[in-house]
């Protein structure tokens, strides 16, 4: 078993944990955390395959993609947080209303 295989298998598990969390958890913040965990799984698989394709240095294209991806994911999570906080202030809901 190689190093990259450990992390690529972990990435699959993380993605499934995230997707399960999106369905199962109710609170807005937990749903946002779940999507970030899903994103972490995707990024981990990218970087693990970059390490497999390494010659003198690891494949830089997935690294660059992941760096941009992290920043974009954080920007969208910030927007989601702003929406969640406004919804809580306006209505007092902490989860989507059809869950009640």
């Amino acid at each position: 078993m190689e190093t990259y295989q450990i992390y690529s298998l972990t990435s699959a598990v993380l993605f499934v944990i995230g997707i399960g969390g999106v369905f199962i958890t109710r609170h807005f913040i937990k749903k946002i955390i779940a999507t970030m965990i899903m994103g972490g799984g995707v990024f981990l698989s990218f970087v693990s395959f970059a390490e497999r394709d390494a010659l003198t240095f690891a494949d830089p294209v997935p690294h660059a993609l992941v760096i941009t991806g992290i920043v974009v994911a954080v920007a969208s999570a910030a927007f989601a947080l702003a929406l969640a906080r406004r919804i809580y202030q306006q209505t007092g809901d902490i989860s989507f209303s059809n869950d009640k």
């Binding site: 690529s8 699959a12 779940a34 830089p60 690294h63 660059a64 992290i70």
Partner: protein
């Protein structure tokens, strides 16, 4: 031996991810998510992706963690009775849910896990752009391959991504309502906090500049430097110097757009000179990339600290409503 470390790190990441979703209290989940981000950063160092590790630790664990902590002011009510009522409502709604949908969900998730594991296990070898990046690296003007890809080979993507950050800021601005550009608050009363913030401001600035410069040869670059400079803005805001409100409006707008704008103007200039968009002449590529990175870092720092300031003001408005009622 190294496989044991990797295995333990993988188990730790999975455990932290599960716990951050299953923890009963919201505060616990936020802190466990913090720890999850740092565990992922360690995993990236193990995978020889130090650039990604710095970005993850700074943005995904640090900056996002700060945003979540700030959100806890809203969602972790200080009045326990309110919290208990919400909890009761929770447990009631949970018992009502049906057995069959749950079973289907778990079965589907299990099946999906198997498919995902098989997919990553069997992903075909070969491909990859390491060799192509390696042969073109001398023409890119920098020695760090990740910086070369980010700012030379795929500069178009990086340019669009800075646009995404700006759109993210505008979206937060739109969701935040009308309380932007508020009057500056009173500076923090705590003398120690003020001194620590005043001490860390130049240190963070210097460290950001170092990361920016070292990005040419080693791990570092515009995004990492931008987050560190953004941390200055966050610290100043928390210390009671809301510089977003203090600074003239045109200056803020200039800082936010200078990275994106300069990048675009430069790209079109080279297009007018007969090249492709973002095709730099190899002789000047190094210095051009350094200028672009500096301006990009300034824009990213301004955008991140403005996002934090806006989200923080959403919380402050809620506090005011709570105290008046």
């Amino acid at each position: 031996m190294s496989l044991i470390i990797d295995g333990l790190l993988a188990i730790l990441a999975i455990y932290l991810a599960l716990q951050s979703l299953l923890a009963p209290r919201l505060t616990q989940s936020v802190f466990l998510f913090f720890a999850f981000g740092l565990a992922l950063a360690l995993a990236w160092i193990r995978l020889a992706a130090v650039d990604v590790a710095i970005t993850e630790a700074a943005i995904a664990a640090g900056f996002l963690g700060v945003l979540f902590l700030d959100a806890l002011r809203d969602f972790a009510p200080r009045i326990p009775a309110k919290n208990e009522a919400v909890q009761k409502q929770y447990s009631k709604s949970q018992t009502k849910s049906l057995f069959l949908p749950r079973l289907t969900l778990w079965a589907g998730l299990g099946l999906f896990l198997l498919i995902a594991l098989e997919a990553v296990w069997k992903i075909p070898e070969g491909g990859g752009l390491t060799a192509a990046a390696g042969t073109l690296l001398p023409e890119s003007g920098v020695e760090n391959p990740v910086t070369a890809v980010l700012l030379n080979f795929r500069a178009y993507d990086t340019w669009l991504e800075m646009g995404v950050i700006l759109i993210g800021l505008l979206a937060v601005f739109a969701a935040g309502g009308k309380m932007a550009y508020r009057k500056p608050g009173v500076a923090s009363q705590d003398p120690l906090l003020r001194q620590v913030i005043l001490f860390f401001t130049p240190v963070l600035f210097l460290f950001g500049a170092f990361l920016l410069y070292i990005g040419k040869t080693g791990p570092g670059g515009a995004f990492q430097a931008g987050v560190l400079w953004g941390a200055i803005g966050i610290l100043l805001h928390l210390g009671g110097w809301p510089f977003i409100a203090l600074m003239p409006r045109w200056l803020g707008q200039l800082l936010l757009t200078v990275g994106l704008g300069f990048f675009l103007v430069l790209g079109f200039l080279f297009m007018a000179a007969g090249g492709a968009l973002f095709e730099y002449p190899p002789a000047y590529a190094g210095i051009l990339i350094l200028i672009i990175e500096t301006l990009a870092a300034i824009s990213i720092a301004a955008a991140l600290s403005a996002i934090f300031a806006l989200l923080n003001q959403i919380g402050e408005e809620a506090d005011e409503i709570e105290s008046t009622t």
